[in-house]
Chain length 341, copies 2
């Protein structure tokens, strides 16, 4: 760890101050009835064949709680940014998803987590990657967005920034999770055998994502993940990369992805869906479908996305066996699905 | 440093083997006369007002040498990937740009470097970020692309991967550069004064980029950088982020950016230029101009790009005072410009 940095950082942050003002607040009129709002979330695409009720129920319960928390913020006129952050914090706390207390462990037996948040009104964005001691990576991503001039901070530097902002660094035991520990040990044992299968059957990319449209008509997106189980230390997937796994732009749409991140990076998936909406004037559902069910499928890129536009349209395509996802609107009713109808 | 990792990594790499095959080789016919090729490079946008001949001449000489090296590879039928990597290695070695031996130092007084490379034929991509002991980040990025299933490795994990591949980790003194050391000391002194200017006048974002179109009609892109002077440790800019500062796709175009990376990330600049070409059928020059001279200017996002398509069109818009850039085609003649005509 770099010892000299905290003081220097604190001094410089005082000068750097808040983020540079973005000269691009997009103020299109809200194209919906006043008072409408939408929150869409996912809890990861993948193979749910091995998923027992004992495993799925806590995930459904956590997703419900997260949707309720975000819904309540949106219902009282709160911002889409506040809603997606609050909802994601609950997912990170739950231990039921590959984020926060449920994050997979790397080959070194500890979590390395990534998160990103983006404001569709201003294009302001913040992200962190490869952090090991942060209880709520999504909130640290928001601090990067609001308290620095930067978008992405990684590793020890991101944790030094956290400390300078009064965020406590937590012990690895904070992230102890019996299922993840068992999965790590099984994978470690398998790796020691020659010709071990590289990918266990029934893996769920339990990344979590949230998109919101608030009463003012502004979109926001947030994604938080622990990456893949037994991943190489330092590997960063699509979640914290703006345009790959996370994107929000009032002019087009908001997207959060889940799946094999590398394919989402190479295809700049989130930005591509929104580019099709903006430039080809495709309906959101077609744009999301064309990317996830055609482009990604051609490349064997497993995964899915949730997408949301300013008219309140929602798309949830996935090319995997399942993707747990939920939606709530102004009527307050929560709908959660994991498989295609 | 993580001590346990190297053995585990080596074992796992043996299993992980080479990158997953990408089921997407794009085999459009080359739309140019057989035997044509193009190499375009930049050495950073910024304010060249303070740039003396003693400073600019070594940069021009290095850029010339890099263009020659890439040209020679392309002329004998080599791939665009080989050409951009070879050219960028010369830029990294030169000490005249913000990359490799010329990388700026962070607040901790050491370089933290980023690089990315992308193959427009397959969309294969590799990148590294926040590496401190790598002489040629661009070659490590290519190893990530070709020898792992991943796209982006950061920090200590990326360096462990380098070591597992037989890449020597170099001392910080390898990156000693009198000008960067002086710039670091001046900035450090300024930061200690209250109300110091956050950004010195005349700063050049000396990121370097290379794009090539080879005789087979395939595009490739590469970008390598040391980021900004006195940056926060762990800060990652647009250069290693696919779609932000680096992108190549035979179906649309190749782009490498230079400037204030955060604006390039939020606007997913490289992918957006190519999306305009692909979806709006805009000429390359118009697409690049609209993004750099309109979208970025509106947001006060300083910088520029080089862009190249499969027809051999080149665009080099920049909204800063200057951007050193050069082009060479099959006639072998090298042209280098820094300012607008």
């Amino acid at each position: 760890m770099r010892l000299s940095s905290c003081l220097a950082l604190a001094a410089v942050l005082a000068l750097a101050g808040t983020a540079a003002p973005l000269a691009r607040p997009i103020t299109l009129p809200p194209p919906r009835a006043a008072g409408d709002f939408v929150l869409v979330m996912h809890g990861g695409a993948g193979s749910y064949t091995d998923a027992s009720p004992e495993r799925l129920e806590p995930a459904r319960a956590a997703l419900t709680q997260a949707l309720e928390a975000g819904r309540d913020i949106l219902a009282r006129g709160g911002s889409s940014l506040d809603a997606v952050e609050a909802a994601q914090r609950i997912m990170e706390d739950s231990g039921a998803f590959d984020a926060g207390r449920g994050a997979y462990y790397t080959r070194e037996g500890v979590p390395e987590m990534d998160a990103a948040i983006m404001d569709g009104r201003t294009l302001a964005a913040g992200a962190v990657a490869s952090v090991q001691h942060i209880a709520h990576p999504i909130s640290l991503a928001r601090m990067v967005m609001e308290r620095t001039k930067h978008v992405l901070l990684v590793g020890a530097g991101a944790e030094e920034f956290a400390r300078s902002q009064g965020v406590a660094l937590v012990s690895p035991y904070y992230f102890f999770n019996e299922r993840r520990w068992k999965s790590f040990q099984e994978r470690q044992a398998a790796e020691e055998k020659p010709k071990a299968s590289a990918m266990p059957a029934g893996e769920i990319y339990g990344t979590t994502g949230a998109l919101a449209l608030d009463k003012a008509g502004n979109l926001a997106a947030a994604t938080t993940t622990g990456g893949t189980t037994y991943k190489m230390p330092g590997r960063v997937g699509d979640s914290p990369l703006i345009g790959a796994g996370t994107y929000a732009n009032n002019e087009s749409c908001a997207v959060s992805g889940t799946g094999v991140g590398e394919y989402f990076i190479r295809n700049v998936v989130a930005a591509d869906i929104c580019a099709r909406v903006k430039y080809l004037h495709q309906p959101l559902e077609q744009a999301a479908d064309d990317v996830v069910m055609k482009e990604l499928v051609e490349q064997h890129g497993d995964g899915g996305v949730i997408a949301l536009d300013r008219a309140g349209h929602v798309a949830t395509p996935f090319n995997t066996h399942g993707m747990m996802h939920g939606v709530v609107r102004a009527d307050g009713k929560i709908t959660i699905e994991t498989f295609k109808p």
